[in-house]
Symmetry: C2
Subunit: 408 residues, 2 copies
């Protein structure tokens, strides 16, 4: 009997009624002839409520204790889901991350999965049981409870699926799949039937919220097919698979956007070796996650260096930048809050030249000024003014006719 | 350095402010020169809230999953307590029942502790840390999470104290010790400085709420001194110790009462061997916890058998009783809901005759009719009408001058 791993997020198990609905969905998969392992997140706002409590008892809660605290959330949802499954007449058993053998490193708050032992999961499946596993959590190599970071339940599900060599890892969410663009910004956006791991990685890293980046990496590295689908309908969603498995490869898969970053520009830095190293070493020392970096053409021995970073990191970054600015003899720095990044992603770019040019043309015709550009083999990203964002998304989406079904 | 184990109940950790107050109390014990292990219950109404959720997803929640669910409660409180301790500048680490090595049998919902390994507790203390342990929970011999039943955190604390050979197990509560009677019923009730394990066992079993019976048994069996005291004051409370350690042994320690039971009487049963066995085997088969049993003097070959049981068990007990009643040719049975039990407890009874007679006299003078009597070597219990309860308590308490300090 094949194994299906299903992952339900916090909104899918937000209250007892929704938990009963999830239980019925699990049972229908079971009736269709598969063993089922269900990975569940904490109910609705549980994690936020627990975070609030933590900040009421301590100014800087201990990361180890924070993980001990937050993992109560999934414990509650796996227990309730199993009660509901048993109430429907099925044998079911819940396992915490630790009981499921999800072993991680020791970095509290954003641990990485090292191994999924899964012996108790396999034994329970062999006894004919449905298994519920707590998402988002594991046990470290030093026997402490860890969490995988926000959205970590996606990674838990993929890792469990890899360990069990499951037929599929189904990620249930409140949208019905991966779209060519966010439908709230681009009304003509179309649901994709399938997408490659690489494209999904670029979309997730460029701001698409549907899957955690790390879960896609893990799925690619272990060859786990992911099926992103809605918990409210039975319609098929979007498959995330190897490029070789796609029947038809579109040139462009979609447009993602990210309006959560800010831009800093260090002005008139002397253009000699070691300058970039000095600046970005200082930022890395404060664990600031720099995204795009662009160095403009040097004029008269001086150059401007621009980079983007999460807006929340600005208060930390500004004082960190001051000292290398002074040392290097730069003119100073500018900060721009209201930027947005538009990214066009498609595996076909590798073999179709002119994609970037077409994107820039579409933006120009829409009157959108490009402030920064960065590219990978299957992605072109442009930083623009946040006020231009919706116009830019529609222009790029229309230019590549992403709203129309791929030719068959 | 000696070890002090402190246990705080749900009301002591009901909100972030109270958790911070507990942390300060723990720190003051630490500053006074002891290693401290803190055993904590779930915050305030958490357990009841989780029970509500369970009954919303399933008519008869699975006991294994119920334990998985409820143990989230103490996980939350130990993590928050450690955050507060660390915020005060102390190293602290929390352990679940499983991490603390509290091994139980496999009876979900009322597991018994088999062993406390405690190796992680000892290692953390050796590193100079304060340790918080989740009360009420353990891990079974088959690696499932178990709970010890309501009030089980007292037993967790005593068991941890026994394992660590602690100097004392301090049980913090919202009263300042063990009283000669419930002060809400008997205003002249006096706090006891000390009491023996045996007396405390009888008081707890007779309705005194201050300590769970099993925790007192465990403390007696392992020689753990218990100190019951208030979490709101620094005043000493009541020590529960071996009889040999008491400086001065009062004849009577206190009066307990229990108004949670009902009484059933099976009328005119033929008085021959096997009758009692037939009736009480039937009740035991339904797990009904019968307390007192009294068989009246036989008249003309027939006898009345009366017994008390929890009121909540009446609906189950009545149909169970009908069939043996018919088989034995009894006349039928009566049920009385509004009874109460008054118990006088004192180790001195063993050597002072006349205590029971003095109690009956006090009740008679107060106009209280006795319906049933049962005794042990250090206890006399009388079942009376519930409406007579407060009058009876005051009469017995006054008769033995329990409100006056023991002569020195």
């Amino acid at each position: 009997m094949g194994v299906v791993v299903q992952k339900y997020g916090g909104t899918s198990v937000a209250d007892p009624e929704k938990i009963r609905a999830v239980a019925e969905r699990v049972v229908s998969t079971r009736k269709a002839g598969s063993d089922v392992v269900v990975v569940v997140s904490a109910m609705g706002a549980t994690t936020d409520d627990l975070l609030d409590l933590a900040h009421q008892v301590a100014a800087q809660p201990s990361p180890r204790e924070m993980d001990m605290l937050l993992t109560a959330g999934e414990r509650i949802s796996i227990a309730l889901l199993c009660m509901a499954l048993i109430d429907l007449g099925y044998e079911a058993v819940s396992f915490t991350g630790s009981q499921a053998g999800i072993v991680t490193d020791t970095i509290h708050g954003k641990a990485r999965i090292l191994e999924v032992k899964g012996s108790r999961i396999r034994a329970a499946l062999a006894e004919g049981k449905i298994v519920a596993v707590a998402g988002f959590q594991g046990v470290s190599t030093s026997s402490d409870i860890t969490t995988l970071g926000r959205g970590g339940s996606d990674t838990s599900a993929v890792a469990v699926a890899a360990s069990l060599e499951a037929d599929v890892c189904e990620i249930y969410t409140d949208v019905d799949g991966v779209y060519t663009a966010d439908p709230r910004s681009v009304p003509s956006a179309r649901k994709l039937d399938a997408i490659t791991y690489e494209e999904m990685l670029e979309l997730s890293a460029s701001g698409a919220k549907v899957l955690q980046v790390r879960s896609v990496e893990y799925a690619r590295n272990h060859g786990v097919p992911i099926h992103v689908r809605s918990s409210f309908t039975q319609a098929p969603g979007t498959w995330v698979v190897e490029e070789a498995e796609l029947m038809e490869q579109a040139i462009i898969s979609g447009v993602a956007h990210d309006a959560s970053e800010a831009k800093m520009t260090i002005k008139a830095v002397p253009d000699h070796p070691g300058v970039a190293a000095r600046i970005f070493t200082a930022l890395a020392g404060e664990a600031i996650n720099v995204d795009m970096i662009v160095q403009n053409v040097s004029s008269h021995g001086h150059t401007d260096v621009s980079f983007t970073l999460p807006r929340g990191d600005l208060p930390t970054a500004q004082p960190v930048i001051e000292s290398p600015c002074a040392e290097l003899g730069a003119e100073g720095f500018d900060t721009e809050h209201d930027i947005a990044k538009v990214s066009l992603v498609g595996a076909g770019m590798k073999t179709h030249p002119g994609v970037a040019a077409q994107m820039f043309t579409a933006l120009a015709r829409a009157g959108v000024n490009i402030e920064m550009i960065s590219t990978s083999t299957i992605r072109v990203s442009c930083v623009i003014k946040e006020t231009d964002l919706d116009r830019a998304l529609v222009a790029v989406h229309d230019s590549f006719r992403l709203g129309e079904a791929a030719p068959s």
